[in-house]
């Protein structure tokens, strides 16, 4: 019975996808393909929450993909948590895609999207439940390829093709790293299964360090950790919005899953330096991610940089957890890991919400450039409310869920800093997180303010309207979940405390993640609701008595204020840009066209030089291209030369191995 489960799951996702390919009518194809995916995800979510989470650890044997190996699915608490995440976001995004993907109705290739999307969801479910290296890598590759094809779905656009290429290269470098990391473990333990890795102790610390280094490269590339994040800001904007939501909300978390799996389950007692490295990379990702996000004009590119930031926050929690584990602070370690994992869920919720909102904006106003938007709250009130909820959540404003998980991380850092010795590191991490949080507020006030408030900056922005119910329902649900998890964080925290019980068994309960006396998120939410509600009523009452008039915005007495006089997103970001210009490197060029003494036209352009792209990746890329041109001489197209190569190879083999 149990062994049939993987097949049932696979067919539940793949059959609707294949049917969608066969159906001629594009609308029906969407409904069958994505609708089928949504139903499959929903049922799997229920099964995971009601069944799998209570039955862990659970093993399901699989037919071996390669002879002489054994494959199995192995579900423990951690897997079940990520599995639930995949299905939860998968369900809502599939519902959304039913409405959104009508953009592709004109193209036959749009009908491949359901199959690819369902394959992506299925392969992610496979990745987190794989119990051995081979099935893990198979799932990983299926995930990477399915997402690649989804990124280039719009392949008529040059940007999409370029983004796809960058993503493909990045993801394969990543897979290479993971493969090497696993091979180090396989070679020393002689086993392919995760349980086998964990049971055989590895004595040589240099092997452990090498495995960790390659795992960090591999999983870090997928997760978008600085400095491996380079593909994210290209691939996320070009992919169709539901795909961006899945990629940013769930797929990059597979990298986090891999890091947690390696660090806390597969590697034997990792030294403090691993955790310290992750902590430093986490803070760097956070600060760089949010700083680059602040200067973006492309709504989806901005959100992509925020994924880098949030992965940084998650990694700060996980890295600090590992550091605490290595330095004898088990209780703090547990809180930090719980906080990091909770932020995985929360980021998935609000980032999926924000990408879905961005998709609705894109479909309504046909532009991602926030300098051309504005005033959308009037035409798209529902999208606006949902996007505002997501923005409050991502800016970690209580009582939304982004705060709940950062709070757990802070409490862990605070508990760790209390111990003697290296406590200062954790205080510095707290200051870093605080800066990241403050900058995130800057960025999302900018986004909500310029996109949804004020006056429309273009005709298409004023014509934008709320999307169909299929697209509104997922956004509304996600917004409610953002608030719900913020007000009742213990729903998830309790569960995560159980999952992480291997770190410390000492009487740490969920109460440690939520302060007991007063001031819990719940009481604060109640207090806020009473205060704000009461004052709103008072305001309404006073206005009814005192009167209210509609007038134009104050324009210093001049009546002709136009939308062009509004503050732009670039101006809004300018103070931050000014302070951090050493990192952001703005380059401005100004060209003037004169006629005699009169100035006719001035052109003013500002560009940002990405330090990593120009300093590291482009030179390496050029080196590769040059090497490839040199290597081209080896295959000039003469068959006799190729036969000569074969002869040479045979001779060499005979010489060396005979």
């Amino acid at each position: 019975m149990l062994s049939a489960l993987p097949y049932v799951l696979a067919s539940a996702f793949l059959v609707p996808g294949i049917l969608a390919l066969l159906i001629r009518n594009p609308r029906r194809s969407r409904v069958v393909g994505f609708g089928g995916g949504a139903v499959a995800s929903f049922l799997s979510l229920v099964a995971t929450l009601a069944g799998a989470m209570r039955e862990v650890p659970m093993r399901i044997p699989l037919p071996a993909p390669v002879p002489w190996t054994a494959s199995e699915l192995f579900l423990d608490g951690l897997s079940a948590f990520f599995l639930a995440l995949v299905f939860f976001i998968g369900f809502l995004v599939s519902v959304y895609a039913v409405g959104y993907m009508k953009e592709f109705d004109a193209h036959r290739r749009g009908q491949a999207a359901p199959l690819l999307m369902n394959l992506l969801l299925l392969s992610m479910a496979f990745v987190v439940s794989a119990g051995d290296m081979l099935s893990f890598l198979l799932g990983w590759e299926a995930m990477s390829l399915a997402s690649y094809f989804l990124v280039v779905l719009d392949h008529e656009k040059k940007e999409a093709r370029q983004a796809g290429l960058i993503y493909l290269i990045a993801t394969h470098i990543g897979t290479g790293g993971i493969l090497l990391a696993f091979l180090f473990l396989v070679r020393t333990t002689g086993s392919f299964s995760f349980n086998g890795f964990a049971t055989v102790p590895i004595a040589d610390p240099s092997i452990v360090a090498a495995a960790f280094g390659f795992a960090l490269l591999g999983f870090g590339t997928k997760a978008g950790i600085f400095p491996f994040h380079i593909w994210l800001p290209y691939a996320h904007p070009e992919a169709p919005s539901p795909v961006s939501a899945v990629m940013s909300g769930v797929m990059i978390k597979m990298g986090i899953y891999g890091i947690v799996r390696f660090l806390f389950f597969l590697l034997p007692s990792p030294p403090a330096s691993f955790g310290a490295t992750l902590l430093a990379l986490g803070l760097l990702s956070g600060v760089f991610g949010v700083l680059y996000a602040i200067i973006q004009h492309d709504l989806k590119r901005l959100l992509a940089f925020h994924s880098v930031e949030n992965i940084g926050i998650i990694l700060t929690g996980i890295g600090a957890a590992s550091l605490c584990q290595a330095t004898g602070r088990p209780d703090a370690a547990r809180l930090l890991l719980v906080g990091g994992l909770f932020h995985v869920l929360n980021h998935a919720t609000f980032k999926a919400l924000l990408f879905l909102g961005a998709g609705a904006v894109l479909q309504g106003a046909h532009t991602r450039n926030i300098e051309k938007l504005g005033g959308l709250m009037r035409g798209m009130p529902l999208t606006g409310v949902a996007f505002l909820a997501g923005s409050l959540a991502i800016s970690a404003v209580p009582p939304f869920n982004g705060f709940a998980s950062e709070f757990a991380i802070y409490r862990g850092l605070w508990a760790a800093a209390g111990g003697a010795g290296t406590g200062g590191v954790f205080l510095a991490a707290m200051a870093g997180l605080a800066l990241i949080g403050g900058l995130a507020v800057v960025c999302f006030v900018k986004v909500v303010g310029t996109v949804f408030l004020g006056n429309a900056r273009s005709a298409q922005a004023s014509a934008a309207r709320d999307p169909s119910v299929a697209m509104e329902f997922p956004m509304g649900t996600l917004a409610l979940v953002c608030l719900g998890l913020g007000v009742f964080p213990s729903l998830v925290l309790d569960r995560l405390m159980e999952i992480t019980s291997f770190l410390s068994s000492a009487g740490v309960t969920a109460g440690a993640a939520v302060p007991a006396a007063g001031g819990t998120p719940f009481t604060v939410a109640i207090a806020l609701a009473i205060a704000i509600g009461g004052l709103s009523l008072l305001r309404t009452f006073l206005l009814r008595r005192n009167g209210r008039r509609a007038g134009s915005t104050w324009g210093c007495g001049f009546p002709y204020a136009t939308p062009r006089m509004q503050y732009t997103a670039s101006s809004f970001a300018d103070p931050i840009l000014h302070v951090f210009q050493g990192i952001l490197r703005p380059h401005t060029t100004r060209t003037e066209r004169l006629s005699g003494r009169f100035l006719l036209e001035v052109e003013h352009e500002t560009h940002f030089h990405d330090l990593l792209e120009n300093g590291l990746y482009l030179p390496v890329y050029r080196l590769f291209v040059q090497a490839a041109f040199q290597a081209r001489r080896l295959h000039p197209g003469y068959i006799h030369l190729y036969l000569g190569y074969i002869l040479g190879a045979v001779v060499l083999l005979l010489v060396f191995f005979h």
Binding site: M377, L392, S395, A396, V397, P398, F403, E406, F407, Y410, R411, W414, A417, G423, G424, L427, M430, A431, L433, L435, G438, V442, V445, K446, V448, G449, L453, G454, N455, P515, G519, P521, V524, A527, L528, I532, L535, S536, L538, R539, L542, L543, N546, G547, R548, R549, A550, G551, T553, W554, G555, A561, Q566, Y567, S571, F572, A573, P575, I576, V579
Partner: protein, 300 residues
């Protein structure tokens, strides 16, 4: 009942503090100045006025004033002003992050009217607050160590008496908190609350399109937040005042607020407003001071 009294005290002392600041400033610059109680009269006037609402504004604008005042009152409920006990004890991280809620809505309302003034003020406000964040969290960490508690009320009340005043940690932390008080409450040298020149102002530009009841709520919230910060600074320096019997505690709180007002006023009178580009280094100074206070703790 005491909860209501606690919050009412914040609401009532806010205008007094603003009045004292203005009077001190006027006195030190050899002017007569408005009466100390003028801010009360201003609020009374504004509460009885209607509003002119921009046709561009959305519901976010309507919600902004209640959110700003409401969240400030919830923050006040966690701050010890006249006794150790507060209506809503709050972890200091929650307290700091809750400060972002009024800021978020205030700055959004600034952008909601489509005015360049609002955008300008909002942009500067969020930038200043973001850069103040590390200093705030480090100084709260320092206070939490000092007071041996992680709720805001507990840590202020727990500052040990014998260490007060001539101990470097206390001086450094109170100094940092005072620098942050000036930055977070739109005071000189970061912002100038008296000017209406758009090139220099932050807070005033942001609320330019608010009128009547809305403006009254926002000014009241500013007063509450100023009292809140003053309570934190003076609470760190004189924690004894929090354990007095009630009939002495309330006059002591009033005295603390009046003294804070005089100190803020004297600072404002003796200084010019900084250029905007210097604010970052000002806040960096605050961060480093807080870090030194923490380092002193690790050393001692």
């Amino acid at each position: 009942m005491t909860s209501a009294a606690h919050i009412l005290l914040f609401v009532l002392l806010g205008p007094l503090l603003v009045g004292v600041v203005r009077k001190t400033k006027a006195f030190l610059s050899c002017r007569q100045g408005a009466p100390v109680f003028q801010p009360y009269l201003d609020l009374w006037k504004l509460f009885r006025r209607g509003i002119v609402r921009s046709t561009t504004a959305s519901w976010v604008f309507d919600l902004s004033a209640p959110v700003v005042l409401g969240a400030s009152l919830v923050l006040a409920a966690a701050t010890p002003l006249w006794s150790r006990a507060v209506p809503l004890p709050m972890h200091f991280i929650l307290f700091l992050y809750l400060m972002a809620l009024p800021r978020f809505f205030q700055t959004l309302a600034g952008l909601d009217t489509g005015s360049a003034f609002g955008g300008l003020g909002s942009s500067r406000e969020v930038a200043v607050s973001a850069m103040a964040e590390p200093a705030l969290i480090l100084s709260f960490c320092g206070l939490a160590y000092l007071g041996g508690a992680d709720t805001v009320s507990g840590m202020v009340a727990g500052v040990p008496r014998e260490r007060v005043l001539w101990h470097p940690e206390v001086i450094l932390l109170a100094g940092t908190m005072f620098l942050l008080l000036l930055a977070e409450n739109a005071r000189i040298p970061v912002d100038d609350p008296a000017t209406h020149l758009e090139l220099t102002m932050i807070h005033e530009a942001m609320v330019l399109d608010h009128a009547g009841v809305d403006l009254a709520m926002i000014q009241m919230a500013s007063g509450v937040r100023l009292v809140l910060f003053s309570a934190l600074v003076s609470g760190t320096l004189f924690p004894e005042a929090l354990s007095l019997p009630p009939f002495l505690a309330i006059p002591a709180a009033v005295l603390k607020v009046v003294l804070s007002g005089a100190l803020i006023g004297a600072t404002e009178a003796g200084m010019a407003r900084m250029r905007l580009s210097r604010i970052a280094s000002y806040l960096l100074i605050a961060t480093v001071l807080a870090a030194i206070a923490l380092a002193v703790r690790y050393a001692g």
